[in-house]
Amino acid sequence: MAEKYQLKSKEVWDGNMAASHALRQAQVDVVAAYPITPSTPIVQNYAQFLADGYIDGEFVMVESEHSAMSACVGAAAAGGRVATATSSQGYALMVEVLYQASGMRLPIVMTVVNRALASPLNIHGDHGDLYLGRDAGWIHLIANNPQEAYDITLCAFKIAEDQRVRLPVTTNQDGFLVSHTAQVVEPLQDEDAYKFIGEYKSLNPMLDTKNPQTYGAQTEEEWHFEFKATQHKALMESTSVIDEVFAAYEKLTGRRYSRVETYKLEDAEIALVLMGSAYETAMVAVDKAREEGIKVGLLMPRTFRPFPYNEVAEKLKNIKAIAALDRSAPMGAMGALFNEVSGALLANGQSAIMTNYIYGLGGRDTTAEHILEVIKETDKNKEAKKRVTDLQGFINLRGPKLSFN
């Protein structure tokens, strides 16, 4: 039986430590991982907890991230609670198996510390890896600070393992800006955290040899489409379970999470849409802009997938000009948030003047002052009642101004 960890009501943890304590408290049966910067400490802390007797489960060191996710798939199909952690290149190497995990409906939880993708090699934060996994059939949850990294990871197990969902979940936190930034975290005591997640309920476990099951079968044109449509349906309909889990978590902790987070949006005329730690930095910018009389608010999809398109449109229905900020190299298109938000508005018969900004690639610093400039540009569009700024701009990029129209 695992030892109880002595926790204070307030700890000072970075995002990595917060995520590793959430994994420990979930009493995961199997963690298979291959450490990579900046998520290495999650795996390192977890191994330390195991060595110190705080964990009963298995910890499997493997030879690559492809193997890590493959071992997770095997352990989850066998019938256990399974988790791992990765970043960037490790995430990229896992991609093939991410699709296998979701296709087999295995409720694996992966704590992702977001980091740029090479080349050029870079260890710092952006959402390149998150966007790479966008269509992999996982639920993607976003955490903006260490407290959220802890909370959201606990919620992730309860969402993933719900028999109405049975899908893998990633919890995302920004490399270094969250993962290596120590802040005050109020953790649950071990027994309360475990009670919230609950005992793992297996479904069609392969280790039940009296009831043989097939995982990852071959289906050609006669059944593949139905499998993928069913999987998509489960992902789309996971929203009600996510809402339930967030509500239960609020009841337990007083901390409220929503699939769509907003800040000062109620009376806003313009809005910024963004995800990750910059959402909080943008709150500082919004407060400054409001002192100057600009009615601006913020919106963040807490669930990047399933994308809450109707809720996003509803929240933005009175907004006249919107800037979508993407922390990923768009490579030949507008950023994903621009496209999703534009689509969400159109699907609901709405429109707003839309612009796209790319920021923070490879850990480039994005300050409240930078975001304030974006707010002022967006306000110009609102005042002119048409787009007078560039369609796609770049925040805090060195060299000559780069933009696309």
Binding site: K10, D14, L177, E280, T281, D365
Partner: protein, 185 residues
């Protein structure tokens, strides 16, 4: 918001020092952020670490800051002009050096006209802890100069934070902290 920037070489304990200070201040009910900025470098490369301390939750996740205090724990980095970046006339510098302040300022011209305190944190850590890990003596000097927290309360918190270490290490660190508080000038 109080903002503190540490200058160090990787391996000298600036990150641990910044996190320990954040931990100490969080115990008094403050909100904190402690983080560092470094690349993929190895031990010995210059790096910086940061503390933000406030009465309300800290939302700004940008790395940029205008420090109220600059703590330099490596004696050679004192001579790098970057330690004065984004500082103003009120910024207080506490720097590790074996030199007299006047001799130091003759060479480190970027510190002339600034509020500078000196402490030989390397020597103190070598003599009291047995290793050149100058982070805890710097904390002692910082708490003495800033009066950010009652010194005895600080010692109690630090002793608890260090409790995972052997008794000899804890005692050495506490001696180093007290000595630094006396010797900083």
């Amino acid at each position: 918001m109080l903002q503190i920037r540490w200058h160090s070489r990787a391996g000298q304990g600036a990150v641990t020092g910044a996190k320990a200070l954040a931990d100490v201040m969080a115990r008094t009910g403050k909100y904190v952020q402690a983080y560092s900025v470094y690349g993929a470098e190895k031990r010995g490369a210059p790096m910086s670490a940061y503390d933000k301390i406030d009465d309300k939750p800290i939302l700004d996740h940008s790395k940029w800051m205008k420090p109220d205090y600059v703590l330099v724990i490596d004696p050679s980095l004192v001579f790098q002009e970057e330690i004065a970046d984004n500082t103003n006339d009120d910024t207080i510098f506490i720097v590790t050096t074996h030199m007299d302040k006047d001799d130091l300022l003759n060479i480190a011209k970027h510190l002339q006209g600034k509020k500078v305190y000196t402490i030989d944190a390397i020597k103190i850590s070598q003599e009291e802890i047995g290793r050149a890990i100058p982070n805890t003596p710097m904390l002692g000097a910082f708490v003495k100069i800033s009066e950010i927290i009652d010194f005895d309360e600080f010692l109690t918190s630090i002793e608890d934070i260090l409790s995972k270490f052997p008794q000899k290490i804890i005692e050495g660190n506490l001696r180093a902290i007290k000595r630094a508080a006396q010797e900083v000038k």
